[in-house]
Homo-oligomer: 406 residues x 2
């Protein structure tokens, strides 16, 4: 006998966090230097130690304790919400009504979007390489998670598959949520091009023009590591959309501020309708209140402080060094993959590289025997470039090539 | 037109946080010393400044930054989960299978309990003085929130009303969740006696023996401020219950560790069945993953450190001084209420005192004109003793008496 309701979670343990536990055990047994950890999406230095930015943690250490201790407003500090927009859009703020509500990381933002913009049984569509919690959210909330083929054979966004999936889903439904994780997609590292975004919006508008309610949730967790500004141009395209085509953006402080364990993010709503955006704000604030009450206060205040003119340089410098580190590792990965003739999905940015293979679970099992840890899926192997140094990447690609050709 | 699903939140702003915004405005306009703030449930010193315990925030400031930055495990640090049990139960650990999963404050714990132990349309019963988010959670998740008369005329827990509400709810349902906020109930300050707990369990067992699935969610947010140990004796009663009578306890670090803004708590499951408790752990971890991913890391580690033998004295001393401060204020409140012949609900502990009246909204409006801020409801006025000094309490009771007799 069990006491929970039937659909309540029996997925078993989360794969990434389970494998991470194996990494910890292996490190304890064999020594950190003998274990390659390409599992979890946290930035580590070349010695495998997690990076915590000085600009962020100096502020935490010196912040007024009363502020840290106190509740943040339910929707988040006003200055935080304004700062999120400034940072997120840079010069590409869409011409639209826009609201922001704080959430615990990107997870809370996506959860809120799915919960409020798809009803029970409604379709939630996503590319078929995806962050597993999207699907788990849909199972938990009884939404109908459907996937389409992500990439064509020549590794472009498969617009035909996208349209077919949308049309099929809308045959017997009046609303649809589409989750797109770009730029620097997890797990592939792929980013939609500006032209691909144009097409996605065209496809969405076609459905909206037929009276369907279409909500796009864009997960941009890796956006600061996926370009030097040009990766934000697509935001501008969310100007003047039909009022029944809504865009939600999931913003996270986890990666760009090395603040994973502080759980801070935001959901941003973009709409051409004032009514729609007010409803968005109410719905998001209510979901906050009933699920986690309010956000962690300190990281909201840190974000605001770091965005001030006099402090921006300090943070930007640290972010640049993280980006450079990640790029060097990605360059090595790409070079080695080519040398070993291992096919990979084009890497545009983000924390991960991806090797498509149907033998991922076998290969990963073999790698684990050599104390090399990665994440397998039906589609291939995810490698956390964020966590691995260049020397380990060379070895890791060599061993993957070995098992792929075996 | 709106884009969210119909039931998605249009409750308007949260009352406590809205009134708190008025407090801030009044303080800015009239000066802090001219505003009486008896609104929000955060402990303030006699000057109205939020209290942040040294033992907690010294540790935050000196904690390894990599630990703060890193993700906690989804279910929470193992040592945290063990420490929660030690602190929560003291010598009253029930003889049962017990599991713990971390949550963002008590809110996350209660939300998880309602979501996984009542299905859509299932009854969730609660005393009719209650923390508003309970009801909002049920609306959001489409659970059937029902209340029963909390207190008899002589201010005892109304067991007859409780039983009638349970029986009525179970007429056409096979499962029921019952939320009880005790000891030191918010908003009343009432605590169920050990004998009242015996009766509640008897009533629950009767339904369980008929094959109904009964889940009690006990919100103990204020437990450390509602006695000197004896208020935890009731936990022992959760030993050897029928396997279809489940107990969940919502633990929060917010109050006893002055860590409101750090969002840390836990949900504790208690069951006589190993299967039931394993299902509990899976369901709670899944809900964590899909709603907020994982808990804030730092407060989990702080809790563990503070519970160590060598540090316990340091924290206990601080907690004792908070309790003493709160008790002094409550004593003044009770004395003044008596002097002015203002009826109040018996205060056993917690952050709030409560004056029953049907004119609460009128009275509170008048009080606000004098820069005295409290929380009104249909049942009466909630006064945050945690936030108000003794001098202000004297004035506040006098003004309430004035408007009550007007």
């Amino acid at each position: 006998m069990t006491m929970t309701i039937k659909k309540s979670g029996n997925f078993g343990p989360d794969l990434a966090f389970s494998i991470n536990a194996k990494v910890k055990a292996a490190r304890a047994k064999f020594g950190k230097e003998n274990v390659i950890n390409a599992v979890l999406g946290t930035l580590a230095d070349d010695e495998g130690n997690i990076i915590a930015l000085d600009s962020v943690y100096n502020r935490l250490e010196t912040m007024d304790r009363g502020l840290i201790a106190s509740y943040a407003p339910i929707e988040g500090e006003k200055a935080f919400r304004e700062t999120v927009l400034k940072i997120l859009f840079a010069d590409n703020k869409p011409d639209a009504y826009i609201e922001v509500v704080s959430t615990p990381g990107g997870t809370g933002a996506i959860r809120n979007g799915i919960f409020s913009y798809a009803d029970i049984g409604d379709p939630v569509i996503c590319h078929d390489y995806f962050w597993q919690p999207y699907k788990k959210m849909c199972i938990e909330f009884d939404r109908d998670f459907r996937t389409y083929n992500y990439l064509t054979k020549d590794f472009k966004f498969d617009l035909e598959a996208y349209k077919a999936c949308q049309d099929e889903a809308l045959k017997d439904h009046d609303r649809l949520v589409s989750i797109i994780n770009s730029p620097g997609n997890n797990p592939t590292g792929y980013s939609l091009s500006d032209e691909e975004w144009d097409e996605v919006l065209e496809i969405s508008k076609k459905a909206a023009n037929k009276g369907k309610k279409i909500s796009l949730i864009i997960d941009v967790a890796y956006i600061e590591f996926a370009g030097d500004g040009e990766q934000k141009r697509f935001f501008k395209k969310f100007s003047n959309l039909p009022e029944n085509l809504m865009v939600l953006v999931a913003f996270s402080m986890s990666k760009a501020y090395t603040a994973y364990g502080l759980r801070s993010g935001a959901v941003i709503g973009i709409s051409s309708s004032k009514e729609v955006i007010e409803d968005f704000k109410n719905a998001m604030a209510t979901s906050a209140r009933v699920n986690w009450s309010n956000g962690v206060h300190a990281p909201q205040l840190i974000l605001v402080d770091l965005a001030k003119d006099e402090n921006k340089g300090e943070y930007d410098k640290e972010l640049l060094s993280l980006k450079a580190m990640l790029k060097e590792r990605a360059d090595v990965f790409i070079r080695e993959a080519e040398a070993h003739k291992v096919e990979m999905i084009p890497y545009f940015g983000g924390f991960f590289a991806f090797i498509p293979t149907t033998k991922a679970f076998d290969i990963v099992e073999n790698l684990e025997k050599e104390n090399i840890f990665t994440i397998p899926s039906a589609k291939g192997i995810r490698i956390a470039l964020c966590a691995t140094n260049k020397r380990d990447i060379v070895k890791l690609v060599e061993r993957i090539a070995f098992y792929m050709n075996k």
